[in-house]
Amino acid sequence: MLLDCTDLSYRRGHGDQAFRVLIPALRLGAGEMIALTGESGCGKSTALELLGLVVRPLSAARFHFAIAGAPLDIAALWRAGRHGDLARTRAAAIGFVLQTGGLLPYLSVAGNIGINRRLLRLPPRDAALDAMIDQLQLRDLLDKTPAQLSVGQYQRASIARALAHRPCLVLADEPTSALDPRLGDEVMDLFFQLVERLGTSVVLATHDLGRVRTHGLREVRAAPLTAGFGSAFAA
């Protein structure tokens, strides 16, 4: 099991206005893909932040992440304030695809794609990465800067960046929301082809239920909390 969490919660703000996100139970196997769905503002991005080891959970009865088969107690790392270990885990095991790509403007496409590989001291390129670059049609764009890319090219480059270091989990936050539907479908098709081939687990935050069904994703839906302001994500 790649990800195993129970009663994982997060709170933003204080008092009556506090917004809470609760994940009562979530298990994600290697190569499995799930979709966090719900209306805009329901806390999908916050749930991704929790699962992406970006924000400290308010509570976590169990929060394990398996790297190379060895379970890592993420809750314990947060409690111990081991931010370096959390950052290292994030760098090695998680890839992020953001709504607007999130490429660094001062690096070329090649530089952006290779940033996590350099951080992990991996060779700049390998055959699998070259194949991915070809599949995403980025070969001719490697020397360009993000500002020189179209929206579709930009998003394809950010997918390559997220997968280049072969993370075991990719967290994708509405990755095609900025694209027109036809282009969005093309990019998502490429994305799913790649993660399936690489055996990468995916947590996709989206409000596009059609896409969830099309790609046969297991849906984890946001439901309003019975008490207070916020959402609970449950299958």
């Binding site: 001062y106 992990l120 001291r121 072969r166 075991c168």
Partner: protein, 413 residues
């Protein structure tokens, strides 16, 4: 599964350093503006310090070039024994020391080849290392050898190789007597060194003069001048004392005064230069403090704004797994690079400015003829101060960067 998880802090820092430099290059217009801003503050400061250093150095050099400023003049007649001379000779602030006899006995009458007399010429004892002698001039090795000052040599019409006849005169029981001997002038002391008529002699000649006038010698012949007598003398009435350098004049004079010896120095001239140096240094320190504070604020503000402008990029780096320290390091590195580039630019500007000052104003000066000059240690200090200011300026930006939450780039969409 990840292919590797060997990411470590040094690698993160190294990559952060690379990214910081790439960001600077990508944003090169902003970088250039910051470099120019910092350089425009540092360059005038370097020129001001260069002017101060150059002017003070010129004044100091003028003082040093005139060895009379190093002299601690011993007044009156004393009884200075060999132990006193040995003790003074051990002092680290001493530059030159030679005994001298009573002033009343330190004159000589000369006669040139045309038998023309020149009476009561001052005799000054000298030896190797005498600061009044120009480098390369030989010193008398026995009492028969003398050095003439240029003004005296002109007056007696001395030509190289020509001997002079010397006379010491005395009165015994009302009867005038004199000793006559031949002197071999071995060189001329330029007027720039000693601008008066005098004979620089071996100490033995002064002792012989004193002994003869005091009636301790029956007579004095050419042969007597080759017999050393200084070692047998145990006490002297005075001494020619010179400090090692300008800063040593005060301490040496104070040491002699502490022994009850009245001395005089060119302390006033030296103190004037020192006071000028102190005043200029204070003024420049205030200007530098204001300038560097302004520089720190300008650079710090720019870096702060830069961090704010790029906080999403910095948040991305945190999201990708770069450590907090790496993200903090980036504005610090950028600040240091901007400061280093500004320093180079300021130095080049300073070189042009200093050359212009020296060309136009240097001719008006005596000595080495420069008015603007920084020594390597001054440049090193300028570099250190600039980098320190840059690092201080980066502290605020670094703190700002450290507060960036990696979640910002997710929430921002």
């Amino acid at each position: 599964m990840p292919e590797s998880s060997n990411q470590d802090a040094p690698q993160s820092r190294l990559e952060g350093l690379r990214l910081a430099l790439q960001d600077l290059w990508h944003d090169r217009r902003t970088t250039l503006v910051l470099v120019l801003t910092v350089a425009s503050i540092i360059a005038p400061l370097m020129l001001l310090f260069g002017l101060k250093t150059g002017v003070i150095a010129t004044l100091r050099q003028d003082l040093i070039n005139d060895p009379r400023n190093l002299e601690v003049v011993v007044f009156g007649a004393h009884r200075l024994d060999q132990r006193w001379f040995a003790a003074i000779a051990q002092r680290p602030d001493l530059g030159f020391l030679i005994p001298r006899t009573r002033t009343i006995n330190a004159t000589i009458d000369l006669v040139n080849r045309e038998r023309r007399p020149f009476d009561a010429i001052d005799m000054i004892p000298t030896a190797a290392g005498d600061p009044l002698l120009p480098p390369g001039l030989p010193t008398p090795v026995h009492a028969g050898q003398v050095l003439l000052t240029e003004t005296l040599a002109k007056r007696v019409g001395w030509t190289p190789g020509a001997p002079l006849t010397g006379y010491f005169r005395r009165s015994r029981n009302g009867t005038p007597e004199h000793a006559q001997f031949t002197l071999e002038p071995i060189g001329v002391i330029p007027e720039s060194q000693v601008a008066r008529e005098a004979v620089f002699t071996h100490l033995d000649l002064l002792i012989a003069s004193e002994d003869y006038r005091d009636g301790l010698r029956a007579g004095l012949s050419d042969a007597d001048l080759h017999v050393p007598s200084a070692r047998t003398r145990t006490e002297f009435a005075g001494a020619r004392v010179y400090a090692r350098d300008l800063d040593a004049v005060d301490t040496l004079a104070a040491a002699l005064r502490a022994e009850g010896i009245e001395v005089r120095t060119q302390a006033e001239r030296i103190e004037t230069v020192r006071a000028f140096d102190r005043t200029l240094s204070f003024i420049l320190r205030v200007i530098a403090l204001i300038g560097l504070t302004g520089c720190a604020l300008a650079l710090g503000g720019a870096l702060w704004v830069n961090v704010d402008r790029k906080r999403r990029d910095l948040a991305l780096l945190r999201l990708f797994g770069f450590g907090n320290g790496t993200v903090v390091l980036m504005p610090v590195v950028q600040s240091a690079v901007i400061a280093a580039l500004a320093l180079v630019l300021a130095f080049v500007t300073y070189l042009f400015g200093a050359a212009a000052f020296n060309r136009t104003l240097g001719q008006n000066l005596t000595g080495q003829g420069y008015v603007c000059r920084l020594e390597p240690e001054h440049l090193a200090a300028a570099a250190a101060a600039t980098l320190l200011v840059a690092l201080l300026a980066a502290v605020a930006a670094g703190y700002r960067a450290s507060r960036i939450d990696p979640a910002e780039c997710l929430r921002g969409g």
